[in-house]
Every structure is written in structure tokens, then in C-alpha cells.
């Protein structure tokens, strides 16, 4: 990190992604098999001698492996959770070896719909299988194996990332010491899934979607993806936050038109356009489907307490008061199931105005919580066999 002094204090500095190729076939929850796959990831900090200081960060719907740092001195956009990860930041890279990984089905380097299907030598497109939270965690565990990490000091995730952190403790109880499950839920409510369905319908009904094989037609279903993202943005913010940010402010007075007259409209259009230009529609479909399907209690007659019976990790669960898409009630269900099993758990309900987006914001109290909890994580291999 010595060469990165020009970058703001506390930054991990200039980073670059790595790619690992896996030749062993991966059987997905759906039964589909990926004969081989690649995962792209970044790491920050140094893995200690007994490999006991690794922290995995799981990304949400539109996240990537690029969690922290910048790709060049002039890079204006640091990683998506740069305010959390870095030297002397709440997740301190002086102490921890932090891993960010792009999930399977993603569009930022890991094998996904835009990758080449080895059987057809064409982009996967519609043929890329539907992936699940369970599949992601399985593939992440293979990456941990590859890095020689037997046990993670912590798995951290917000939203869909929180579901992965939870799934780690269910699937590999002995491999996780701490799980930080933030702004998440043990499954989605009907209302939450309904937003995903509208988003997917916007994409699927875009004339340029071509059943998911738009690459072959050299077009992109931008309109659909744009609307999906606009809808998402509305649900990630609270009414109050939108009110405070835009209110009823007009850009340039009323024009009796359907142009973006209100500032809120131009914000949503801008966000939608930006996203449609950089994200893959097939990936969006799969990420939202993974959200819909995740339900660890399903095999236990809906009994989450039974589903978490074998969990041994210590938990920090955090929710935000104004988050209506992943409301505090849902986080409390996770807490209750852990309490029922007499697990070590703490729960914070952070007073925040920003809605679901609050989990990415550097709110002082929220960051103090993370800093205090992470600071108490003991780095040693005492749990390892």
C-alpha cells in the first residue's frame, strides 16, 4: 500500500482484480451443472500466517467484487463499500484480509450470462442457469479453499449479501466465526418479490430482450433494465429521504409536458440510464430470482429456528428504521431464531432516514457499531480443527 499515499487517508489504495478458474463441475441447486467456471475477486490487507484473519464481503443485487480502493490514481469511483473497508476503517485492513467476490451469474467477470458457453462457443445468454444464494455460497467456499482459508473470521453482507452471510452459517457452520447480517431478511415477503417481478417483466417485455439472447442480435434491452432500476431505486429510499432530497422541486418550472420536470424524475432517469449502460439484463433477472428463492426455513416447514439449529457462528444483525424493503421486523425474525437456539447474537436497529440504502451510508452510529463489533473479533485459529 506504500505506493498509494496519494489516495485519501484510510483507503486500501490502488487495487486490481484477480480471476480463478475452477475446472471441477459445480452442480447448482437447480440441478444444472457448470462444467467449469471462473470467479473474479479482489483482496485487501494481508492474509496472516495461520490464515485466520479472512473476512468475506458478499455483494447485493448490483454489487461487484470491487468493494474498496480504486483502479487508478484518477479513478473517481472507489469500490462500493469503500467507506467500510480500509486501513483504520471499521473493517480494518491492517488487521483483516478482506475478500470481495463477484457472484456467479454476475456481469463483472465471474462466469455469467455474458461469458462464453464452452458447449456453444457463444455467450450463454438465456442458457445460463438460474443461480441461487446456496450456489453462490458454495462457489465462495471453493474460492476460500483455493485461498487456503479453512475458516473465515467473518462473513459480512447487506441485503442479498446478508442472505449469503446467513447461508454461510447454515451450509458451513464450522467455517464461519462471525456473521454480520445487515438490512437483510430470512426470505422475501410477497410484496418484496412483487417488486422483483415488475422489474423482470420490464426487462422480459422489452422488444430488444429476444428471450435473453439479445447479444446475438447486437442489441440491449436498455429500456427494460432502466425501468427495473428506477423501480428499485424508489424502493431503496424512504419517503422521507426522497422528500428531503427532491421534495416537489422542479428543474425549470412546470411545462405541461411529460419530460423530466421534477428533480426526482431526472434523478431516476439518470440512475436508470447509467445502470442500463453498465449492467447486464440477464444478470439482473438472475440476481432478483436468487432473492426470491432464498428461504432457508422452507425445508423445515417454515420454521427458521429449526433451519438455524446447527449454526455456530456469532451474529451481529443490523436493520434500519426507515428500511421498508428489508424492514426491521424481518431482521428480528433472524434474531429470534438465533435466540431460540441460544446462539451468540446482538441486534441493532439503527435510526436512519435513508431507507434500504442506509446500509451503504457512512452514518456515524452505524459505523461505530461495525467498528466496535469487528474490533472484538479475535483473530486466531482456535476454532479450526
Amino acid at each position: 500500500m506504500s505506493e498509494n499515499n496519494n489516495i485519501s487517508n484510510g483507503s486500501v489504495g490502488i487495487v486490481s482484480p484477480q480471476t480463478t478458474h475452477f475446472n471441477t463441475p459445480l452442480t447448482l441447486k437447480s440441478g444444472a451443472v457448470l462444467s467449469q467456471f471462473e470467479l473474479v475477486y479482489e483482496t485487501y490487507g494481508t492474509l496472516n500466517a495461520d490464515k485466520s484473519n479472512a473476512v468475506l464481503i458478499c455483494h447485493a443485487l448490483s454489487g461487484t467484487h470491487h468493494v474498496a480502493g480504486k483502479y487508478s490514481e484518477t479513478d473517481k469511483h472507489p469500490g462500493w463499500w469503500d467507506n467500510l473497508v480500509g486501513p483504520n476503517k471499521p473493517l480494518d485492513t491492517n488487521k483483516f484480509f478482506v475478500i470481495g467476490v463477484n457472484n456467479l451469474g454476475g456481469c463483472h467477470g465471474s462466469t455469467g450470462p455474458i461469458s462464453i458457453n464452452p458447449t456453444t462457443n457463444q455467450k450463454w445468454g438465456s442458457l445460463f442457469p438460474v443461480v441461487t444464494v446456496e450456489d453462490w455460497v458454495k462457489s465462495q467456499s471453493l474460492l476460500a479453499d483455493y485461498l487456503g482459508i479453512q475458516q473465515l473470521a467473518a462473513v459480512v453482507g447487506g441485503s442479498l449479501g446478508g442472505m449469503q452471510a446467513l447461508q454461510w452459517t447454515v451450509a458451513y457452520p464450522e467455517r464461519v466465526k462471525h456473521a454480520l447480517v445487515i438490512a437483510s431478511a430470512p426470505n422475501l415477503t410477497a410484496q418484496n418479490m412483487a417488486f422483483n417481478e415488475v422489474a423482470r417483466q420490464a426487462i422480459i417485455t422489452d422488444p430488444e430482450f429476444h428471450g435473453g439472447d439479445y447479444y446475438a442480435h447486437n442489441v440491449l434491452p436498455r429500456r427494460g433494465l432502466r425501468i427495473a432500476r428506477m423501480l428499485g431505486h424508489i424502493t431503496y429510499l424512504s419517503d422521507d429521504a426522497m422528500g428531503a432530497k427532491f421534495g416537489r422541486k422542479l428543474k425549470d418550472g412546470v411545462k405541461y409536458s411529460f419530460d423530466a420536470e421534477f428533480e426526482m424524475e431526472s434523478y431516476l432517469r439518470y440512475q436508470g440510464d447509467k445502470f442500463a449502460g453498465e449492467f447486464d439484463a440477464n444478470t439482473y433477472l438472475r440476481m432478483t430470482r436468487a432473492l426470491d428463492y432464498y428461504d432457508p426455513a422452507l425445508d423445515f416447514d417454515g420454521d427458521l429456528t429449526a433451519a438455524l439449529k446447527n449454526v455456530t457462528a456469532k451474529f451481529l444483525v443490523i436493520s434500519f428504521t426507515s428500511d421498508w424493503r428489508f424492514s426491521p421486523t424481518r431482521s428480528r425474525e433472524i434474531v429470534k431464531a438465533l435466540l431460540d437456539n441460544e446462539r451468540t447474537v446482538s441486534y441493532a436497529e439503527v435510526t436512519a432516514a435513508h431507507g434500504h440504502d442506509a446500509f451503504l451510508m457512512p452514518d456515524a452510529h452505524y459505523h461505530n457499531i461495525l467498528r466496535a463489533y469487528i474490533n472484538n473479533i479475535v483473530v486466531d485459529n482456535s476454532y479450526a480443527k
Partner: protein
């Protein structure tokens, strides 16, 4: 509002009721401390009795202090009940000097009896003679244990020992033990007059 009334002074290592509470908690048992403040009691019980402890605390600053000292703490408002805790899932549920600040007094006691096999309730005795003297003098009592003015007090349901005894009787709550103290000394003679802190070990009858 659930912050415990802090009566620790610099010469005391822990609050005067902690020693008695720890005498009522079994070694290695499972304990829930409601309105746990900065987690000091939980820490004390963990160290001495190796309890499996959880705290409930609403205040952000106290909650954070609990995390720093390694206590399990659930951020919740006690006024909303204890729905995240199963029936009879704790050996002991403690409400230490918080009862008087609760709005839903009866509800919280019933919730505690639902969740805990035994419960411990402690509160400042409003019948203490120094309080009576201040009332007789025409003013609301202000003291080390009741350090608030009438207009800024979080204490909305102050009671005397006699009041609480009757509350237990009316609600069919069995008093297993009662201990009344004044400045760490046990008060056995005229406790409702001479004791300033009342401590009860209770169970449903």
C-alpha cells in the same frame, strides 16, 4: 428512557444491587437483563457466574457500550413487549431499576413471567422516609437514587414496597425472596420506611 438510574459512585466498584442480584442467579444459568444499560450487570454476572447472558437496551450509546464490553445485546423498546423471546426460555429475567420508568408496567411484568422461570425486579422505594420528608415539606423527592426533577424524570410509575407487595398479590405473583437495602445495608425493620432500594425474586404462581 430505559437507562438505569446510575447510582454508582467512584468508591463503589459496582452498583449496590448487583451483589444481591448475583446471589439470586445460578451459576451457568441463562439470564436476560432488560434495560441493561451499558451491560455492567451482565459483565459482572458473566465474570462471576459464567451465565449465558443477553441484554435488551434501547439507547444507542448504552447499546454500543454493551457491544464494546462483549455483551450480547438486543436493541428493542421494552414497551413493545418481549416477542422475540420464547416462553420460559430463560432461567432468570432481570429488570433492574427500570420498572418505575415503564409505561406499560403490568405488561412488562407479565412478559417477564412468560419468558423467565424466575424474575428479579428492583426499584427505588418511594416510601423511603427521606422521600416522605421531602413530600411533607411540599416538594417532590430528589435524591441520589431519584436524581430527577419532576419535569424531567423518566420515572412515571414510582411505587412503595407496600404497593408492589399488593401488586404481586393481585397478579398472583409469588414472592420467592425480597431484599430491601439502604446504601448496601440490609433493612429488615420497617423496610417500607427505612429502605431505599427494593429487590424482589419472583415467579408466577
Amino acid at each position: 428512557m430505559q437507562n438505569n438510574v446510575n447510582i454508582t459512585n467512584s468508591t463503589q466498584k459496582f452498583r449496590q444491587d448487583f451483589a444481591i442480584i448475583s446471589g439470586w442467579v445460578k451459576f451457568g444459568s441463562k439470564v436476560l437483563d432488560l434495560g441493561c444499560g451499558d451491560g455492567e450487570l451482565l459483565q459482572f454476572l458473566r465474570g462471576g457466574l459464567e451465565v449465558k447472558g443477553y441484554g435488551v437496551e434501547k439507547d444507542d450509546v448504552n447499546w454500543l457500550a454493551c457491544i464494546k464490553n462483549g455483551s450480547n445485546v438486543i436493541q428493542m423498546d421494552l414497551e413493545d413487549g418481549l416477542s422475540v423471546f420464547e416462553d420460559q426460555s430463560f432461567d432468570t429475567v432481570i429488570l433492574s431499576q427500570t420498572l418505575q420508568a415503564m409505561h406499560k408496567t403490568e405488561e412488562i411484568v407479565h412478559e417477564m413471567l412468560r419468558v423467565g422461570r424466575e424474575i428479579i425486579v428492583t426499584f427505588p422505594n418511594f416510601g423511603y422516609w427521606r422521600n416522605r420528608i421531602q413530600i411533607t415539606g411540599g416538594r417532590m423527592p430528589v435524591s441520589k437514587i431519584l436524581p430527577y426533577q419532576w419535569y424531567d424524570t423518566p420515572n412515571v410509575h414510582l411505587c412503595t414496597i407496600n404497593d408492589f407487595d399488593e401488586f404481586c398479590k393481585n397478579n398472583k405473583i409469588m414472592i420467592l425472596e425480597r431484599c430491601v437495602i439502604t446504601d448496601t445495608k440490609a433493612v429488615n425493620f420497617m423496610p417500607n420506611l427505612l429502605g431505599n432500594l427494593a429487590m424482589y425474586r419472583l415467579k408466577a404462581s
